[in-house]
Amino acid sequence: MSDPTIYAQHIRIWYGTPAGPVRAVDDVSFSIQNGEILGLVGESGSGKSTIGRGLLGLLPPGSVMDGELAFKGEDLLALDQKERFKRRGRDLAMIFQEPLTRLNPLMRVSEHFTETLRTHFPKISDAEVEKRSLDVLQVIGIPPSRWKAYPHEFSGGMRQRIMIALALVLRPAFVVADEPTTALDVLVEAQIIRILRDLAEQFDTALLLITHNLGIIAEACDRVAVMYAGKIVEIGDARDVFSDPQHPYTQELLRSTITLTTDGLHSIPGAPPDLIDPPSGCHFHPRCPKAMAHCAVAEPPVRNKRGGKPEPGTTDVACWINQLADVPEDARGPLERGEISVADEA
């Protein structure tokens, strides 16, 4: 098999703050093949956007990233700033949540595309700019008659389409879409999700789709990674994870999601931890209904759901329950802990 488009191993990302380093991403591994959509889901603050920005080299000053990150087999972290900037846009691109703040209100659609293309191909002709751009715009549902229009002449959904087209016009092999539909209405959201799915297929793009909406993951993604407190706690085929969730956090998240079939409310007690000083052992143990004594002292390694080594194609989980054989027998009893009150709640 050829190299995956993105190969990320043991990625860690810290933000320096006056109160101490925030461990926003804490030893996370995954890969994405071309044409594949990996969904990244988790509550706010779990580190999703940080991963997205880290992969694209868009972290703010004062942050630190280590681990192994390869793009089509090439080590990205070894590149200098200038080289990484060149990659961005051409090979790796980002679609943001708020299209209006990313488009310049004084620039026509045509000027946005010209600027994007010229940054990477300084000698490209106007005719070539127009041809390449209109190709992408059409696919995305913007008629060529709008080529000279300004951003305000478009609806919210159309502007998000333009943002997607701008990210895709350079034909990047890898795209991060960070909550691309959060600001949109349901019907438009459904249109955009369908477009993203078609595009990944049509252009053979590898897509990291970040969202807190489990429904979107189930609709759009081939695989899903569930994040909790800076860690991927479960990753695998989306259908497999949703129909047979392994990690107690995935199970709780699915149970607490209100859907059309919800007939009783369920919530996860407590709140996600402070990432400056996360809990010992499994980060989820203070809220986990299945926690054992061992969970509070030892961090569960990532294993495939049958307890073996993670392999391509397996659903992988970081939870001691899946690897009971490695839990000392006297540490398998339920974890004793205090009540969680609303005072600790999100």
């Binding site: 008659s145 349901v186 429904g215 129909s243 998240l253 607490s256 059309l260 996860i268 609303v342």
Partner: protein, 429 residues
């Protein structure tokens, strides 16, 4: 059931209109937007019985917040009435002014979408939660403190002492929303308008806040107007649901009926569009095209007709729809074909109208026959496109191609099953 007729009516909204005049600032004129009128709430009638939860559901811009604000008297009504009955006395909120209005607001309270914005960052939680008591009942000292403690504990912020001296920035999103709820119930209101109270919160927190609202409803005998764009929470939370689109209620009925038997094509579309967590349940979806149109220039006839997959001749077709159809066609043809057609018809600015008849004239380089050929081709691409049923004449004239559009039917809510629906298609059955 709360819909039993012997339960008294708490709120009776009758033919309410809230219109905003758009002045059109210098900038917006520069950007090509003229002044006009937005009919944010356009002839809406609703009744809530005591203890009932009514959901106002719709996409952004459908008028939900404006309707909620009108119920609190925060925006003036352009027409109609909002009758609020409490303790056997009825008043028309829309006619109240000044002191009477302020007094009324002790009985009807609002919870806002963004708890962060609803709280003053520079004031302690105790000060803000107690504020309404200071203003309306001039409470101070121990009595004030006692009531604040009780309100905080009733929303789960217990022990209250732990929260009273805190500032909003010390609280999580869910805790902030609890504080906002505490402030809204401290005057013992009987109606609460909750405007998207959980949509800014994480999934795992939403259930907690909804549970709290249900507990409070039972404990305090509250009546809720629950505003949301999220059908899933509405289904769980509401006794009845009103689906809104561009200022109008298009379908209203008991929650079970709306979800088991959605009748309006817009309701059906919303239900289909919800991404389903269960991968086994995903169905191929024919989603409505386009987006919510400019509220200052709503479509003719049924506002939903440009997007409606089931629209018929009498739904309100107009020249603007023809323009949208040509542009959609241009996203599918090769660019050189587009360039040729565009050279013949130009920017189609003449179609930017809701007139009943329109003439599409050729550009200097084009001919009437070429225009006619283009429209014929578009029509042949998809003869089942509902728009064509609403075109009563296409004719080549010496000056261009003339189109006439069918007269729209009267669109109003009519009973259908145990719901009421505003759709010519449903009403014809």
């Amino acid at each position: 059931m709360p819909t039993k007729p012997d339960i008294p009516i708490a709120l009776d909204v009758q033919d309410l209109q809230v219109y905003f005049k758009l002045r059109g600032s210098g900038l917006s004129r520069l950007l090509g937007k003229e002044g006009g009128t937005v009919k944010a709430v356009d002839h809406v009638s609703l009744r809530l019985r005591r203890g009932e939860v009514l959901g106002l559901v719709g996409e952004s811009g459908s008028g939900k917040t404006t309707l909620g604000r009108a119920i609190l008297g925060l925006v003036p009504a352009t027409g109609g009435a909002i009758e609020h009955t409490s303790g056997g006395e009825s008043v028309d909120i829309s006619k109240l002014r000044g002191r009477a209005l302020r007094e009324h607001r002790t009985k009807v309270q609002m919870i806002f979408q963004d708890p962060h914005a609803a709280l003053n960052p520079a004031m302690t939680i105790a000060t803000q939660v107690g504020h309404p008591l200071v203003i309306h009942q001039k409470l101070r000292g121990a009595e004030l403190r006692e009531r604040v403690v009780a309100a905080l504990e009733s929303v789960g912020l217990a022990p209250a002492e732990q929260f009273m001296g805190k500032y909003p920035s010390d609280l999580s999103g869910g805790q902030k929303q609890r504080a906002v709820i505490a402030r809204s119930i401290i005057l013992n209101p009987d109606v609460l308008v909750a405007d998207e109270p959980v949509s800014m919160l994480d999934m795992s927190v939403r259930a907690k806040i909804l549970q709290l609202m249900l507990d409070l409803k039972h404990k305090l005998g509250l009546t809720y107007v629950y505003i949301t764009h999220d059908l899933a929470t509405a289904k769980f939370f509401c006794d009845r649901v009103a689906i809104m689109y561009l200022g109008k209620v298009v379908e209203i009925g008991p929650t079970d009926e709306i979800f088991a038997n959605p009748r309006h094509p817009y309701t059906q579309a919303l239900l289909k569009a919800i991404p389903d967590v269960d991968p086994a349940k995903q169905v191929p979806r024919d989603l409505p095209r386009g987006e919510i149109p400019d509220a200052a220039r709503p479509p003719r006839g049924c506002s939903f007709h440009p997007r409606c997959p089931l629209a018929r001749a009498e739904c309100g077709w107009e020249p603007r729809d023809l323009k949208a159809l040509v542009e959609e066609h241009w996203t599918r043809v090769p660019v050189d074909e587009y360039e040729h057609e565009h050279a013949v018809v130009g920017g189609l600015r003449e179609l930017n109208t809701d007139a009943k008849t329109v003439l599409v004239q050729p550009t200097r380089g084009g001919t009437v026959a070429e225009i006619f050929a283009m429209f014929t081709k578009i029509r042949d691409e998809n003869p089942d496109e509902p728009l064509w049923s609403g075109v009563t004449r296409i004719e080549q004239t010496p000056d261009g191609v003339a189109f006439d559009f069918a007269e729209p039917a009267e669109i109003a809510l009519h009973p259908a099953g145990s719901s009421e629906v505003a759709c010519v298609r449903v009403n014809a059955q």
